[in-house]
């Protein structure tokens, strides 16, 4: 075996149960119960992923593409462990930094510096790991002279910069990126893309969910295309992008 498999999906399905017109209060529940109705609303089961299997090895850069609502984000959430599969197996080897939402858990009242530590902790890193790269994070975010200010005074672009810097500098071997590269102004966006490339060259495994073919084509050697919860393509990026574009332009 040339390189170790870090993410393995074996026949993974994920379905969500949605209720239309579901009771949301204890009061209606009790009233219903007295009338002898035990269930309210109509249950709708939506299968977001239907038996997906793939393997991602160490040091791979894989893009996941697909039109809206085909299960890309659900796949990332399954990888990061936020959701558990309804059926099938997921095997993960190594620590994951989910960049699913930049700056998850930022607190408006705290300073940028305090938020870096908080966000690092939220992403599952220890104090020493966070402190070892905090200077690099601040420098990369270009917020050096604002770092002691409460982040409620930051612009949204600044917040995104801070969020990206944190996630990109913490040293998790597996990086999950969910359409966040198109952030900030053109200059910073370019800087992010370069940073991701640098992380990839440094030996990280990167899984990227994207809609924009350019950013996928730039680095990802391999692309997985999802359509309506099933894997329709897994292979070289140029072909994957072509299939995706065909799917995206097809009338529904």
């Amino acid at each position: 075996m040339s390189s170790q498999v870090v993410i393995r999906f074996t026949d993974v399905s994920k379905s969500f149960t949605f209720w239309s017109d579901r009771r949301q209060s204890l009061k209606t529940w009790l009233v219903d119960l007295m009338r002898g109705r035990f269930r309210s609303g109509t249950k709708r089961k939506i299968e977001v992923l239907k038996g997906i299997s793939f393997e991602i090895s160490e040091r791979e850069f894989v893009a996941i593409m697909g039109v809206n609502g085909t299960g890309k984000s659900t796949t990332l959430k399954l990888i990061s462990g936020i959701y558990e599969p309804t059926s099938g197996q997921i095997e993960i080897n190594g620590k994951i930094a989910p960049l699913i939402e930049l700056g998850a858990g930022f607190d408006a009242e705290l300073s940028g510096y305090e938020n870096i530590l908080l966000n690092a902790a939220v992403l599952g890193f220890s104090r020493s790991e966070a402190l070892s790269c905090i200077d690099k994070i601040i420098e990369f975010s270009e917020l050096t002279n604002l770092i002691d200010m409460p982040i409620k005074n930051y612009s949204s672009g600044m917040l995104v910069r801070l969020g990206f810097s944190i996630a990109a500098h913490l040293s998790a071997p597996i990086l999950l990126i969910d359409e966040v590269l198109a952030v900030g102004d053109v200059g910073f966006s370019q800087k992010c893309i370069l940073k991701v490339e640098e992380l990839y060259r440094a030996g990280r495994t990167i899984v990227l969910v994207s809609h924009s073919p350019e950013s996928v084509l730039q680095f990802a050697k391999r692309t997985i295309v999802l359509s309506a919860g099933t894997k329709v393509f897994d292979g070289p990026t140029p072909e994957g992008v072509a299939i995706y574009q065909k799917l995206a332009t097809e009338p529904v």
Binding site: T17, G105, A121
Partner: protein, 262 residues
């Protein structure tokens, strides 16, 4: 000694840095920009306790030894319980953005909330100690049992907190129900009155109330007037185990169900 994995999971021992960060954030936000800081939060229960003292001792002339100490210790302990629970109801719902984006255990929020409130509680314990010293001039040997009772109170709180914040995800009118529940529990617990005042035919209520023997135990730590038998002193521990086993099973089996329903 290695702690068992299920306990480590239940008390999030591998998330120390995150807990530390969240606790310090909550404390900072709570007490930043206020001169009296933490004393604001202690001030409210102190004034409540003082009002109860005035009403029941000075006006209604209740015959009870060391009534000032009784009311202070009882009300401050009870206030810790209520404060913690009312804050915990919406914990999961308010943390939706975090819970659906980062894999963190749901009960971590309850733990953080418990710790933040414990800080206030510990400060208020010192206030009660001060009141005891001023009004009685001495401290009782019973005080050695206080850490045990405080631990029981904290853990009962933790279990209720997990239960309520989980239920709130499904029943958004839970707050009103809890308010009534807590009100009933307040008068069903010997806080303002002593256990000896409870008529025999109503005694069983104390056994069904997690606070029924715990609050009298805490009061005895300060007044030195012991009303609990040895078995009754142990009963909070049984509640701790029973309630936490239940809360643990929620965390274990319903975690995904809760996160997906947020």
């Amino acid at each position: 000694m290695q702690i068992p994995a299920f306990l480590a999971h239940y008390f999030c021992t591998n998330k120390k840095f995150l807990i530390y960060n969240m606790v310090s954030r909550n404390l900072k936000i709570k007490y930043r920009r206020s001169y009296l800081g933490i004393f604001w939060t202690v001030l409210a229960p102190i004034s409540t306790a003082f009002i109860y003292f005035l009403v029941f001792q000075v006006i209604m002339k209740v015959k009870q030894e060391h009534y000032l100490v009784v009311v202070f210790s009882g009300i401050l302990a009870w206030n810790f319980f209520v404060q913690c629970l009312s804050e915990s109801v919406s914990l999961y719902v308010d943390s939706t953005s975090l819970l659906t984006k980062v894999p963190i255990p749901i009960h971590l929020f309850n733990l953080v909330n418990l710790m933040v409130n414990s800080v206030t509680f510990i400060v208020s314990i010192f206030v009660v100690l001060g009141v005891t010293l001023i009004s009685m001039g001495t401290l009782s040997k019973q005080l050695l049992l206080l850490p045990y009772f405080m631990m029981c109170l904290g853990l009962i709180n933790y279990a209720f907190s997990i239960l309520f914040s989980s239920l709130f995800v499904f029943f958004r009118d839970l707050r009103q129900v809890i308010a009534i529940f807590l009100q009933l529990m307040f008068y069903g617990t010997p806080i303002l009155y002593s256990k000896s005042m409870v008529p025999d035919q109503w005694r069983w209520i104390l056994n069904l109330n997690p606070m029924g023997h715990l609050i009298p135990g805490i009061k005895a730590c300060f007044t030195g007037v012991v009303e609990n038998t040895f078995a009754e002193n142990l009963s909070p521990l049984l509640w701790v185990i029973a309630l936490n086993v239940f809360a643990f099973s929620i965390v274990k089996s319903a975690r995904n169900h809760i996160v997906e329903n947020l």
